[in-house]
């Protein structure tokens, strides 16, 4: 039999061996993904969130939406029929942390963007059962009445920049974004213009139906309406993404 007395009587060695044993799962299943070519598909259109969408994402996390809603359409036929094209790794490349979720009490939201009107989103968030009688989603009426705090939007973008999201601070970074995403998107990703961009998008988009102020609803609806809409799948063959697997 295996003699483990030497291991069990050396507490330091036991600790190291225990850590090695429990990290095998991660080392085998997660670490290689960072090295395998094709983990993140090459696809056009995916960009970091605009300042307003980013605040909406923060609210999405604050309210715990991810506890009941996933953002991960798996490559199964029933999911494709209901939710649309399966999610690509590329589509969450700028998400820190990603919102794939692990529980669907409500439907998947990976492609909810543009599926319903802004009015529907507002009405449904304020009072879900007024539109979907069988829904068990809580009401979120305060989103409409709470002013959006965007005083620290620059800091939030700067923090994400550290993790590798291409929000630009310097001219060189800005120019790189123009090259990568085009001028309009590059402007949106410029940290120096963040507040101005946020206000403008909220005013132009009028997501909550009230232009007199910027509510948390504006931000959340802006975020929800962009989910899953960045990649134009009509541009790709239907089996384009098979080759990455």
């Amino acid at each position: 039999m295996f003699k483990h007395e030497w291991l069990e009587t050396n507490i330091g060695l036991l600790a190291v061996a225990t850590m090695l044993a429990i990290s095998i799962g991660g080392l085998v299943e997660i670490a290689p993904l960072f090295f395998i070519k094709g983990t993140v598909e090459k696809v056009d259109g995916v960009r970091p969130y605009t300042p307003l969408e980013l605040r909406g994402r923060d609210i999405y996390q604050r309210e715990g939406c991810y506890l009941c809603h996933s953002q991960m359409i798996r490559p199964f036929r029933d999911e494709a029929l209901r939710y649309g094209h399966y999610s690509l790794a590329a589509e969450s490349q700028y998400d820190h942390p990603f919102q794939w979720g692990s529980k669907r009490t409500g439907p998947d939201l990976a492609r909810v963007g543009k599926k319903y009107s802004n009015e529907w989103m507002v009405q449904h968030l304020v009072s879900p059962r007024s539109l979907v009688p069988q829904s068990v989603m809580p009401n979120f009426p305060w989103l409409l009445t709470t002013q959006l705090d965007y005083s620290d939007i620059k800091e939030r973008m700067r923090a994400l920049r550290v993790t590798g999201v291409p929000y630009s601070l310097t001219k060189a970074e800005y120019d790189a974004n123009v090259k990568k995403f085009g001028a309009d998107t590059a402007n949106m990703l410029d940290i120096n213009q963040a507040e101005k961009n946020l206000v403008k998008q909220a005013q132009d988009g009028n997501y909550d139906g009230d232009r007199s102020n910027i509510s948390e609803m504006d931000a959340l609806v802006a975020y929800l309406q962009v989910l899953g809409t960045m990649v134009d799948f009509r541009k790709y063959d239907d089996d384009e993404f098979v080759k990455y697997r």
């Binding site: 085998v28 063959d237 239907d238």
Partner: protein, 306 residues
């Protein structure tokens, strides 16, 4: 009983002795457990050869299993097993099963579809699923609509037309309701007169003089309501303006208003603030033309189709 059984069984010890009298029993795992364990090990070995498994540098072992599918260009491809190809293969199979029905729907004129019992049952079952997921969130299950939000699809009042082709057009491209606000154009009295004029169509007891003044205002250049709602106030489907002469209400909740004054107020709110809602998303990017045609038939046959 269990105690005596335990006593009868004297387990071996590992032979270690601490502090003179502390011993450790050596209870080997039961054989059934060990066999199950080694079976999973063998299973894993087999699995590694069949399916994608081990990472190697920038790639991974792809396994011997393959999937064959046909893409939209008609090319048949065989690739190592993966879930994306599996989805393609399963979609191919399901589409092949549905294809005869969708082909028939595409080639059959709208009016004929409901008359073919087999096609009709396909429309009813597929349409119910499509409607529940895509349409019911606004138009409600069954298409009853919601006052102040989305129109009823089961009555014969249609903003943009209730013929098959018009419904198909609406689903394909979406809609966006609009009415300009009149807060700065009309004063409160004028709005009341207009409301009374509209309510008079419903035989609601309003002041006849006020309704008559509203009639004139409606057709005047001041309010110019007739531009959009038509001289007969029956609306114009080309622009989606509402028929004001029937008792069906979408934005002003007249039926639920108790008193005449409340009914007037409901209408005046719409006149004052206008409308910039009633947004129906476009579905051409989410649904196929065949699915949209099928939905048009389904919606038409909810009861209100013309």
């Amino acid at each position: 009983m269990s105690v005596s059984k335990q006593q009868a069984h004297v387990p071996q010890t590992t032979g270690h002795v601490w502090d003179g009298d502390l011993q450790e029993y050596n209870n080997p795992l039961p054989n059934w457990w060990l066999i199950a364990f080694y079976t999973t090990v063998v299973f894993a070995l087999v699995y590694w050869f069949i399916y994608p498994a081990w990472p190697i540098g920038g790639s991974y072992t792809k396994g011997f299993a393959t999937i064959t599918y046909t893409n939209d260009k008609g090319e048949t491809k065989t690739v190592p097993w993966n879930t994306r190809a599996l989805l393609m293969a399963e979609t191919n199979k399901a589409e092949a099963m549905q294809k005869p029905y969708f082909d028939k729907i595409a080639s059959t004129p709208f009016e004929q579809i409901a008359k073919d019992p087999e096609l009709n049952s396909f429309v009813l079952s597929a349409g119910k699923t499509l409607f529940s997921d895509n349409c019911a969130p606004c138009h409600q299950q069954g298409g009853a609509g919601k006052v102040g939000f989305a129109p009823n699809l089961t009555d014969d009042d249609w903003l943009y037309g209730g013929h098959f082709a018009q419904i198909q057009q609406t689903i394909t491209n979406g809609r966006h309701g609009y009415m300009p606000p009149f807060a700065t154009v009309l004063d409160d009295k004028q709005m009341t007169e207009l409301a009374d004029y509209i309510l008079s169509f419903e035989k609601i007891p309003v002041d006849p003089a006020s309704a008559k003044a509203g009639d004139e205002l409606f057709h005047s250049e001041t309010a110019a309501c007739y531009y959009c709602h038509g001289a007969n106030a029956k609306g114009r489907q080309v622009i989606g303006s509402a028929n004001l002469t029937d008792s069906i209400w979408l934005w002003a909740n007249v039926p639920d208003a108790k008193t005449v004054a409340d009914k007037e107020d409901a209408i005046k709110t719409v006149i004052r603030g206008g409308l910039n809602k009633g947004v129906m998303p476009t579905w051409k990017e989410r649904l196929s033309p065949d699915q949209i045609k099928l939905l048009a038939v389904y919606v038409h046959d909810l009861g209100g189709g013309q």
